[in-house]
């Protein structure tokens, strides 16, 4: 019985240790993506990083047409790209764009944000054309996210940090970066609906508990007959032997 007890004790130690740092046995496939959180999630732990950075850009305007350019935060976590003529800039010589991480962190009840929230402002409005999905028309945002968090499904936009938040889509052409086109500036964050599942792994948030439950039930259902068979087989040799309770799967020599 000593060996099963040791394994049970080790399992208990693991459960306690894993419970202290969500999600537990996260083996990962490389270093966690550094992310500078405004409001670090519990999982970030010591990986909270430095303070999230802001960004500033001055875009030249020639004959009323703004140049193409990209504004980005100093840490590269948030960028906004503009096509030529993206702004209604008649009479201006330049357009100033600012990106600022928002604190305190908005926490809408119907959404889970997996990035910081950034406020993007400009001293000229964007031209009002229907935003495309992939052509960055008239502007597009790209948001880095941490692989410590579930991958976001969409980029959300709001006029105020209190919402309402509008889904402006989201595509992922680069690992750990979600992007979306927009014809409006304001508050941006990436995340997913609170009642939805992650797009990279459909049903995963519900699937994991179900999978573990199936594993446990399967082990119990299959394990009991196997244990009974083994006990009977061992009992034919020596009912009182310590061997009969040993879980060893390979025969001892």
């Amino acid at each position: 019985m000593k060996r099963p007890l040791l394994i049970a004790a080790a399992a208990s130690v693991y459960l306690v240790a894993a419970w202290m740092v969500a999600p537990g046995f996260y083996d990962g496939f490389g270093p966690t993506q550094p992310y500078n959180w405004v409001c670090p999630p519990p999982i970030a732990g010591a990986n909270s990083g430095a303070s999230a950075s802001s960004g500033h850009l001055v875009i030249n305007v020639i004959d009323g047409t703004s140049d193409a350019n990209t504004a980005f935060t100093a840490d590269g976590q948030m960028s906004v790209s503009f096509l030529p003529g993206a702004f209604q800039a008649a009479g201006k010589t330049h357009v100033t764009v600012d990106i600022t991480p928002v604190s305190p962190c908005p926490n809408p009840p119907d959404l889970h944000f997996t990035t910081n929230v950034y406020q993007v402002t400009a001293d000229a409005p964007l031209i009002q054309v229907p935003p495309t999905t992939t052509q960055c028309q008239p502007a597009c945002v790209a948001m880095l996210y941490s692989n410590l968090m579930p991958a976001p499904s969409f980029v959300y936009l709001a006029d105020s940090p209190n919402g309402p938040w509008k889904n402006i889509g989201g595509t992922e052409n680069q690992l750990l970066v979600i992007r979306a086109d927009t014809n409006q500036l304001g508050y941006f964050a990436a995340g997913y609906p609170a009642n939805a599942v992650n797009k990279n792994s459909p049903g995963s948030s519900q699937l994991l508990p179900i999978a573990v439950a199936v594993l446990i039930v399967g082990v119990l259902i299959a394990g009991i007959p196997l244990a009974i068979l083994r006990r009977r087989a061992a009992g034919n040799v020596d009912e009182e032997s310590d061997e009969e309770d040993d879980p060893e799967v390979t025969p001892r020599t």
Binding site: D27, F29, N47, G223
Partner: protein, 186 residues
């Protein structure tokens, strides 16, 4: 050198341990390069599997005797490893589906390297206690570059659990199954 390694189990275990750590740390560093994650995992996994060359399968814990029990044990280990994340599913990071195959490769390679070859080498050098403790320490150290320090207690506890199973059941099949399922889920 080869003669010395074959006649001195402690030296052989030390060389194997150093090699495995070097591979794992190199993989962690290489993974920081954009676009290099998958190649780093594939090359690192292959480099870990190389350690198994020349070892008899039974000494590494492989075998087909009582296979249902081994498989069942793997499911049980997976359930334990995933239980904390399952309870808090919304906090669990999800690996992209495209990473599934490399997750399987690296999980198998790590088990073969740590609970297979390194465990066997340490067992020869100093018996089961050294094998359990040594493989767990090496496993934890291997994750030091790729995980925040707060994670390392859970990593160490998982390594200890898998090493104890390896010792108690003389089996590597169940740790491989448990590790693969856990990595696929997270």
């Amino acid at each position: 050198m080869i003669a010395a390694l074959s006649t001195r189990p402690a030296l052989r275990a030390a060389v194997i341990g150093a090699y495995i750590l070097l591979v794992e740390w190199s993989r962690a560093v290489a993974s920081t390069i954009p676009g290099a994650v998958v190649p780093a995992i594939l090359i690192g996994g292959a480099a870990l599997l190389v350690t198994a060359v020349g070892w008899p399968a039974p000494q590494l814990g492989f075998g087909t005797s009582r296979l249902p029990l081994r498989i069942l044990g793997g499911f049980a280990l997976a359930a334990v490893l995933l239980l904390p994340a399952a309870v808090r599913a919304s906090e669990a990071p999800i690996i992209p589906a495209s990473f599934a195959m490399v997750a399987v490769i690296i999980s198998v390679a790590q088990e073969v390297a740590f609970r297979g070859v390194l465990y066997a080498a340490l067992d020869e050098a100093g018996g089961a206690p050294l094998a359990i403790v040594g493989s767990t320490v090496a496993w934890t150290a291997a994750h030091a570059l790729s995980h925040p320090p707060a994670f390392l207690w859970a990593v160490a506890a998982a390594g200890l659990l898998l090493a104890l199973w390896r010792w108690a059941c003389r089996d590597l099949v169940a740790p491989i199954i448990g590790h693969v399922i856990a990595d696929l889920a997270l």
